[in-house]
Amino acid sequence: MPKAQIKLKPKLAVIKEEKIHHLLVPGEVGAILELTVKDKDGKVTDHRVMRSKSFVRQFLELLWIQTYQIPEVAPYSVRDTANALQDICESAYTFAANGGIGVVTHGIIVGEGTTAPTIDDYHIETLIDHDAAPPTAGDLQYGAVTFGAPASDATTSQFTITRNFANASGGAITVNEVALYVKAYLYNLSYYFMTIRDVIGGGIAVPDGQTLTVNYRLQAVI
C-alpha cells in the first residue's frame, strides 16, 4: 500500500481580504476553525468552517503573564498538558506554536475525544499520536505548523495557524477534537500548555491515504 506523504510546503502568506470568514460578532476575539480533507490527488472530499468555541483558561493565564510581565522571581503557576502546575514567567517563548514535523508538544493537535470542552481543560482528551513509522493503526502524520501573516478587512483582523495531518495508517481515522498547544518558559525549562480546544460535532473522517488540513484563524472583530 502506498504511504501518504505530506507534500504541502510550509509558507507564510497574507490572506486575501475576500477569504476572511465572518463568524464572530463585533467585540469578539476568537478563532475560526477550518477543516479540509483532500485525497491523494488534492481533490477536496470534506470541508467545514465553524466558530471555535473554546479559549481555555491557559490562554488567559499566558496572556496575563505576558501583559503583566510576570517576572522570574515571582512566577505564576499554570497547569501544563501533563497535568502538572508549572511556574512560568514572561519570555520570548510565550505562545510559541511553531511545532515541527512530528512534534506533538506544540502547534495544532488532534484527537478522538468527544467530551464537551470546559474552561479547565488542560489537554486534548484522547491524543491521536504522530505516525513516525507508518502504517501505524490510529496514528496520523503531523506536518510542520505554518502561519499565514496578519491581514484585515473593514471589520476583521486575523492571522492563520495551519497544520496538515496525513493518514497512512492503513485505515480510516475520525478526528473528533482539535486543540492548540503552545510553549511557555521559566529559566532553562520549557513547558507546554493547551490554549484552545474544540470538539467537532460528529467528527470528521480522514480515510486512509487522505490528508486533513486544520486552519485556526485567530480573529478580532470591531
Binding site: 507564510l12 476575539v29 496575563w64 501583559t67 470546559t118 501573516a149 478587512d153
Partner: protein, 221 residues
C-alpha cells in the same frame, strides 16, 4: 471567545464616584493580532515582521529573547509605570536604557480626544492626551493588572489606570485604547503599538477630578 468590558468612572479629588459608564469594548485592533502572530510563529530577528508603530512608522518586530538563558521579551506588555517613569523592556540590550526603555505613559491604557470611528488598522489614538499638568493634559498613573480569576465557564482579569486632571480646566475624553510594546532584537530597539481603541461617547473630566479607566478581558467556554 474573548471579549472585554470597558468601564469609565469619574471621581472627585477625594475619590468619590461622580459618574460611571460601562460598555462592551468593541475594538481589539490588527496590532493585537500582529503581536500575537509574532509570538505564536516565533518570528526571529533574521526575518522580522513589520508593524506600524504609534507614530505610523514601519518597525521590525521579532520574538527573539535576550542573550543568556533568561529569554526575556516585553512584547504584549500592558502593565506600566506612571508618567515619565521608564519601563525597561527585555531584548538584546535589556540593560541599556538608551534603547530599551519606554516611558510608562506610552504603555498600557491611553486616553484621547479624537472622535474618528475605530477601524482594525488604526495605529494610534486619533488625538492622544499627553501626560502632564498643562492645559489639555492629564497625569497618567501606573497601568495596573489585577484580579485574574476563573469560575467555569468564565475567566477574567482587570487592567486599570487613573488619570488626574491638574490642567486647570475641563478635558473631554472621547477615546480610550491600549498601547503595547514590540521589540527588534538586532536593532536593538523597542516601540509602542496600538492593540485596542474604543470611543467613549464623551466623559468630561473637570479640573482636580480623576478618571479611572478599566478594561476587563473575559473568556467564556
Amino acid at each position: 471567545m474573548l471579549t472585554a468590558k470597558l468601564i469609565l468612572e469619574r471621581l472627585d479629588k477625594e475619590g468619590r464616584l461622580l459618574e460611571r459608564k460601562e460598555q462592551q469594548s468593541r475594538s481589539f485592533t490588527l496590532g493585537f493580532l500582529q503581536l500575537l502572530y509574532v509570538a505564536h510563529a516565533q518570528i526571529q530577528s533574521g526575518a522580522p515582521y513589520t508593524i506600524n508603530d504609534i507614530t505610523d512608522t514601519p518597525r521590525t518586530v521579532d520574538n527573539q529573547g535576550n542573550i543568556g538563558a533568561r529569554l526575556g521579551k516585553s512584547n504584549l506588555m500592558i502593565g506600566a509605570a506612571p508618567g515619565h517613569s521608564g519601563v525597561f523592556c527585555g531584548g538584546k540590550n535589556e540593560f541599556d536604557p538608551s534603547v530599551m526603555t519606554i516611558e510608562g505613559q506610552k504603555i498600557g491604557i491611553q486616553v484621547g480626544t479624537g472622535v474618528v470611528a475605530v477601524t482594525p488598522t488604526d495605529i494610534a489614538l486619533a488625538t492622544r492626551i499627553a501626560h502632564g499638568r498643562s492645559a489639555g493634559e492629564l497625569e497618567y498613573g501606573g497601568c495596573e493588572l489585577i484580579g485574574i480569576a476563573f469560575s467555569d465557564p468564565d475567566g477574567e482579569f482587570t487592567i486599570r489606570r487613573y488619570f488626574t486632571n491638574a490642567s486647570g480646566g475641563p478635558i473631554t475624553v472621547e477615546e480610550v485604547g491600549i498601547y503595547s510594546p514590540g521589540g527588534d532584537y538586532d536593532a536593538p530597539a523597542i516601540w509602542a503599538f496600538l492593540i485596542a481603541r474604543d470611543l467613549t461617547g464623551g466623559v468630561v473630566v473637570a479640573d482636580t477630578e480623576i478618571l479611572k479607566v478599566t478594561y476587563v478581558p473575559q473568556i467564556t467556554v
